[in-house]
């Protein structure tokens, strides 16, 4: 069970209150019709799947119902920070 800090509620809450929403910092292309199949497939399906530091989105489903980002170690599951969408993480690591 993860304990996740919601930067909107400013509280540590249990994982069951949240839902995971995949890798963070993936921007939807502004003009999808101009992309090649490779670029569009890459945007839709290909993720870094890092072993180690990972930036990911979480949704506080039974709390404030807002999205935010989390930096987490996918090997130890330790949550290193949570931060608002639109801001950059302070902890970054080499991803493998």
């Amino acid at each position: 069970m993860l304990l996740i800090h919601c930067p909107h509620c400013r509280e540590m809450r249990e994982e069951e209150e949240f839902s995971y929403s995949g890798e963070a910092h993936i921007t939807r292309p502004l003009q999808p019709e101009l992309l090649t199949d490779e670029e569009w497939g890459d945007y839709l399906f290909f993720r870094t799947n890092s072993k180690g530091i990972h930036h990911e989105m979480w949704f506080h489903a039974v709390g404030c119902r807002r999205y935010f980002n989390v930096t987490r170690d996918t090997l130890s599951y330790e949550i290193l920070e949570s931060y608002l969408i639109g801001t950059q993480p302070t902890i970054t690591g080499a991803t493998s």
């Binding site: 069970m1 497939g41 290909f46 993720r47 890092s50 072993k51 996918t74």
Partner: protein
């Protein structure tokens, strides 16, 4: 390799079973191989076995960072079935089923394949519509299956609760009599022994740390025991596939997630089939030892830690107690997690890559064990001939760019 038989058992009994030959060698790696299989789990060992057996390649090594069959092969719930919806997937899993049916004889190793049947329960109208559709599709593909009523389910699994008053009442099920279970470790060991006898080097405790390339083609792998040359490298590394792909500068559309399972204390025989439910989310069978083997859900987040969240286990145990109220008093013995490589369409990737001589077999997600023989068979063919096997052709990595996905979320058994 000495053949196992009633005679050899008798003969070795006379010498107190102290003179059985080693099941496989423990060789030091050669400088170069024709094919290196990265990953010594069930799929990797099956790949090596069929490369040697069917394609006559014997200068092969399997490189495993831990011990053989110590990853997801040792962590799954051993369920075997082939009742997938789409033609492409159904044919791939049915090939596996046919190979399972002769596997113990083929390998001269008892994999304890037991065709005890698999029930996939439906708990609401939409479930039942999906089940009818899937069973019809299966029968058109020559795969056995029938839609059964709650009373028939009760005959098959007498301990099950079919009361209409339960929270999620059972309305029916799909029933595949040829489905069942096998002994997971024995599958890895049987393939390992068979491959070793054909001259394949099984190299354990050796981790691949890099994939060396020259002019866009593979020339070998860097390992913790030094560089080993290879003309072809076939990666079958399940949850670590993204990590291995990154060594060659490739990306894969897979995400690694923890999937958990648990077993109870051994109890007397009480469940002689496999019961699965997507809607309440649990699946259960009883091993020959007597433990109830229970599969839980996949965690929602990415992880490589081989453990998952407690609430996932809690949810599954609730479902099992709802289906089998008698099991509420059974104590659980062990719980563990494995790292599964989930694909966006819940189907595997069996594919060449943009690097010449580099192949990937991954993305089996939550249901790879049942496919072990077929996966090895088609992947060996793909690697040996440098083109996709007919059954593997729909499963190339290109489908995520072309859009020709094979959506098996409905039949995959575990929500991804």
């Amino acid at each position: 390799m000495k053949k196992y038989s009633a005679f050899s058992l008798l003969k070795n009994a006379l010498s107190y079973h102290e003179n059985w030959q080693k099941v496989w060698r423990n060789p030091t790696p050669k400088a170069e191989y024709d094919v290196i299989v990265v990953g010594g789990g069930g799929h990797g060992l099956a790949t090596a076995y069929y490369l040697a057996k069917v394609h006559g390649l014997t200068n092969i090594a399997v490189i495993e960072k831990g011990y053989l069959g110590g990853g997801n092969t040792a962590r799954n719930t051993t369920i075997i079935r082939s009742n997938y919806l789409w033609d492409e997937a159904a044919q791939l899993y049915e090939l596996s089923m046919k190979l399972w049916e002769g596997l113990s004889q083929e390998l001269n190793y008892n994999v304890m394949f037991s065709q005890r049947g698999v029930l996939n329960l439906g708990h609401n109208l939409q479930d039942m519509r999906d089940i009818e559709r899937r069973v019809n599709a299966n029968r058109l593909n020559g795969i056995d299956g029938e839609v059964v009523s709650p009373h028939r389910i009760k005959e098959i699994a007498p301990l099950i609760n079919i009361s209409p008053n339960s929270r999620y009442p059972i309305l029916g099920a799909s029933w595949q009599p040829r489905g069942g279970t096998a002994r997971h470790d024995a599958v890895a060991w049987g393939y390992a022994r068979g491959a070793d006898a054909l001259g394949v080097d099984l190299i354990q405790q050796t981790e691949v740390t890099g994939i060396r390339r020259q002019n866009g083609a593979v020339v070998g792998v860097e390992t913790t025991k030094g560089f080993i040359g290879a003309r072809k490298v076939a990666c079958v590394t399940a949850g670590n596939s993204s990590v291995v792909a990154a060594m060659a500068g490739l990306r894969l559309p897979v995400e690694s997630r923890p999937l958990q399972a648990l077993v109870s204390e051994p109890v007397k025989p009480c469940l002689d089939t496999v019961v699965m439910s997507n809607a309440v989310h649990g699946y259960i069978s009883q091993s020959d030892k007597g433990d109830l083997v229970i599969g839980a859900g996949v965690d929602s987040y990415n992880g490589y830690g081989q453990r998952g969240s407690f609430h996932v286990i809690e949810h599954t145990v609730q479902a099992i107690c709802e289906l089998f109220p008698a099991f509420s008093r059974v104590r659980m013995n062990r719980q563990w997690g494995g790292i599964v490589d989930t694909c966006p369409d819940a189907c595997p990737i069996i594919s060449k890559t943009s690097v010449e001589g580099l192949y990937f077999n991954c993305g089996w997600g939550t249901g790879g064990f049942k496919a072990t023989p077929g996966s090895g068979y088609v992947f060996a063919d793909t690697v040996a001939n440098d083109r996709p096997h007919t059954l593997a052709a729909p499963f190339t990595v290109d489908r995520f760019n072309s859009g020709a996905l094979i959506d098996e979320h409905g039949a995959a058994g575990v929500a991804h």
